[in-house]
């Protein structure tokens, strides 16, 4: 699946406005939330901060905030402000993987990028690797 990142700035702005509007009801296991909330102690609204911190301090330093998430969507389903955290976190991850100096993020290691590039070939509809998964595995091991 190719993640569309062009409207990132617009998406981020929308989500930030929603986050500022009111705190959101959490439906995330406490220990998982705590992991993501590390480094945000003392902030008035960790939920909003979670969405804002990567933009304020860069994607590289705040990686746990948007990666320590299963993207299950439970938080989004109960969020009274309608914040779609999985969508936002996916956008952060896409930016982080690509490496964007505007968001203080470096590209992922070459080996990792190559492995996922090979993987993405198999994900295309009708892609050769998708019809022959053993070839995809072999290519990923190389």
């Amino acid at each position: 699946m190719r993640i569309r990142t062009e409207p990132f700035d617009q998406l981020a702005t929308e989500e930030i406005e929603k986050a500022k509007a009111r705190p959101f009801l959490k439906m995330v296991p406490e220990f998982l939330y705590r992991k993501r909330a590390e480094g945000m102690a003392g902030m008035a609204d960790p939920a909003a901060a979670q969405a804002l911190m990567p933009l304020l301090f860069g994607l590289g330093r705040t990686r746990d905030l948007y990666r320590a998430c299963t993207l299950c969507g439970a938080c989004a389903s109960v969020c009274p402000a309608g914040i779609d955290h999985p969508k936002l976190f996916l956008a952060y991850r896409a930016k982080d993987v690509a490496g964007d100096p505007r968001f203080r993020s470096r590209p992922r290691p070459l080996g990792e990028r190559l492995a996922f590039r090979v993987w993405s070939l198999g994900d295309r509809p009708g892609g050769r690797l998708s019809r022959r998964p053993h070839r995809a595995l072999r290519a990923a091991r190389m």
């Binding site: 296991p29 998982l32 320590a68 998430c69 299963t70 993207l71 299950c72 969507g73 439970a74 389903s77």
Partner: protein, 113 residues
């Protein structure tokens, strides 16, 4: 038996009652509900590899709630959840099983492909 709501099915496809209605129609099967059955099992794709401790804590919670029901089989309808919960059960509670809903409905009680 009991049924775990997979995140994709529940929150993206809105599938919740349908599997339970199917299970209710299975003769001889007693379907029980369990606490936090709609919570994520902790797999989350690469999340399980990136944060194995957190992932295991989540699947442990899931399995604890399942064990509390006394049910023999935990049914799921998402391969990722089956991999995660089934693997944890096989290691820690080999007397319990996780199965795909389709396998159960097809009468394939071994749960093998």
């Amino acid at each position: 038996v009991t049924y775990h709501d997979s995140c994709r099915n529940l929150r993206q496809l809105g599938v919740s009652d349908q599997p339970r209605r199917l299970l209710a129609a299975v003769r001889g099967a007693q379907v029980v509900r369990f606490e936090q059955e709609d919570f994520c099992c902790g797999f989350g794709g690469t999340f399980a590899a990136s944060y194995p401790d957190l992932s295991e804590a989540m699947v442990q919670d899931k399995v604890d709630h399942f064990l509390a029901t006394g049910a023999e089989v935990l049914l799921v309808s998402e391969p990722g959840c089956l991999l995660n919960i089934g693997g944890y059960l096989a290691r820690r509670h080999p007397h319990k099983r996780a199965m795909h809903l389709a396998s159960f409905l097809a009468g394939n009680l071994e749960g093998r492909p």
